[in-house]
């Protein structure tokens, strides 16, 4: 029997297994989790011949190196980065065959933050509540990869996509996040709401899978006191006591006690996942659809 497994030779700064997450359990305190850039994850799955919900690897800034024990088709997408197989340059954003025992190197991101690596058959770790995603807030799913981790692979579902090139969004030089105000914009001064939607912010290096943290003008509260804990959504712009807005990403807590001044449109969150620290951020108020 062929050994369908993947050996992690270099885990990189933070590489996790991700899929479409585990929605539907927020009432038990379970974050949704899942790929921060779901479009990129779906694209590499399609290129590798996998269904869209197959588990992929999500790297952070400096890629990873992997050695499959059987011949597989892989696809690397998301943040643009050099790809080599057995030391020779290979395609990014296209199906690539990696022979059994050859080394696949996913290099440092030339732009953006998170590269996605799909392997034919998908990463077949045991699912937890229907998902194989690593949830860094609650610790559900497989631990982040370490050097030497061996990951089981599933059976390939179909042939790789036959494509020459695929369109992909470039990681943003400036991150424009469309927001609808509320639900707790009345907890802030009119000036704070104006500051949020007109002044310049930057992506903070303290950002992670839980939230995109920002640096910029502190938003002033119109009322003091504590907000009783309430349910939180993906894209919520929560304002902690330091006044700097935090945009909730996939591993966000399900409830929280800091007021949410606005919510980012879901379509703008993949770009947020690819914005490197220091990227200028603009929040633009839009009307609710």
């Amino acid at each position: 029997m062929t050994d369908r497994a993947l050996v992690v030779v270099r885990a990189g700064a933070l590489t996790t297994v991700q899929d479409r997450g585990r929605p539907g359990y927020a009432h038990l305190g379970v974050p949704r989790s899942g790929a921060l850039d779901p479009q990129a994850a779906a694209l590499v799955n399609r290129l590798a011949g996998n269904p869209p919900d197959a588990a992929v690897l999500e790297t952070t800034l400096n890629g990873c190196a992997l050695r499959p024990r059987s011949t597989v088709t892989v696809a690397v997408g998301g943040a643009p980065c050099p790809v080599t197989v057995g030391g020779r340059p290979a395609a990014w954003g296209a199906p690539v065959v990696v022979p059994a025992g050859a080394l696949l190197e996913v290099g440092a991101a030339a732009a953006g933050v998170r590269a996605y690596v799909a392997v034919s058959g998908g990463i077949a770790v045991e699912p937890v509540l229907g998902s194989r995603a690593t949830d860094l807030l609650s610790g559900l799913g497989p631990a982040p990869l370490t050097d030497g981790t061996v990951l089981p692979l599933g059976i390939p579902a179909g042939p790789p996509a036959r494509v020459d090139a695929v369109p992909h969004p470039c990681p943003p030089a400036e991150l424009v996040l469309r927001v609808t105000l509320g639900p707790r914009d009345d907890w802030f001064t009119a000036r704070a709401v104006r500051d949020l939607t007109t002044r310049a912010y930057r992506v903070s290096s303290a950002s992670n899978r839980i939230g995109l943290r920002t640096e910029g003008p502190a938003l002033e509260r119109a009322r003091t006191g504590e907000l009783p804990s309430e349910g939180m959504v993906l894209g919520a712009v929560q304002v902690p006591p330091d006044g700097r807005p935090v945009v909730f990403l996939a591993d966000h807590p399900t409830t929280g006690g800091y007021p949410v001044i606005a919510v980012v449109r879901a379509a703008d969150l993949p770009a947020a996942a690819q914005a490197v620290p220091g990227t200028p951020v603009r929040f633009v108020a839009v009307r609710r659809r």
Binding site: H27, L28, P228
Partner: protein, 205 residues
């Protein structure tokens, strides 16, 4: 009852009390079960219920706010009993807040029937209500970096049991042996919103 659209596909419904939030939560679950409410998540909290993944939040906002807060739901049938040793390191501090002896803290706490008002903080962590307001306690001024799994703790109006070891600022009064969260079990969470809970003292306490 007030309702705030949250982004394009969620609605936060706010009521006046925790009891009303529990009643509203039960009513929304009933509507989902009968098929009249299509929504991905129904997340109760202290004074609110969040409907996330909702096709038409504005229509639901007007529908919900034009009706009365529903009556309290019938009590859950099953009572979950959690064996507990009242041996927490903050027992004396809680006794001082309550102006009773440590033994009395255990007696009052074990004599209370709790309801899981909502979950959050960690998978399977329930916020349990039931103690009268005079027994509210503040959080610890300095949170602990590690609270052990099974710790029975108080903060504000709530009792909680830590499903796994984690940092925490609640006052620890005891230890429960029960496994609060096991993702290999069905259901994974021992305590889910609406459940009735009683703590049963074991050992010398």
């Amino acid at each position: 009852m007030r309702a705030f659209p949250v982004g394009d596909d969620a609605l936060l419904v706010e009521v006046a009390s925790g009891e009303q939030a529990q009643a509203l939560h039960a009513e929304l679950l009933r509507r989902r079960a009968e098929g009249s409410l299509a929504v991905r998540e129904i997340v109760p909290a202290a004074r609110t219920v969040l409907l996330d993944g909702l096709a038409d939040p504005v229509r639901w906002a007007s529908e919900l706010t034009s009706s009365e807060v529903p009556p309290a739901p019938p009590r859950a049938r099953e009572l979950i009993e959690l064996p507990v040793r009242y041996d927490g390191p903050d027992l004396a501090e809680v006794a001082a807040h309550w102006k009773v002896s440590e033994h009395e803290v255990a007696r009052i706490h074990a004599g209370t029937e709790f309801t899981v008002a909502f979950c959050g903080f960690a998978p399977g962590f329930g916020y349990l209500t039931g103690l009268p307001a005079r027994y509210d306690v503040p959080r610890r001024a300095t949170p602990r970096t590690a609270v052990p799994a099974g710790a029975v703790a108080l903060a504000g109006p709530y009792t909680g049991v830590y499903p796994r070891s984690s940092p925490g600022g609640w006052q620890l009064i005891g230890t429960a042996e029960a496994v609060l969260w096991d993702h290999a079990r069905v259901p994974a969470a021992l305590l889910s919103p609406g459940a009735r809970v009683r703590f049963v003292p074991v050992g010398d306490a």
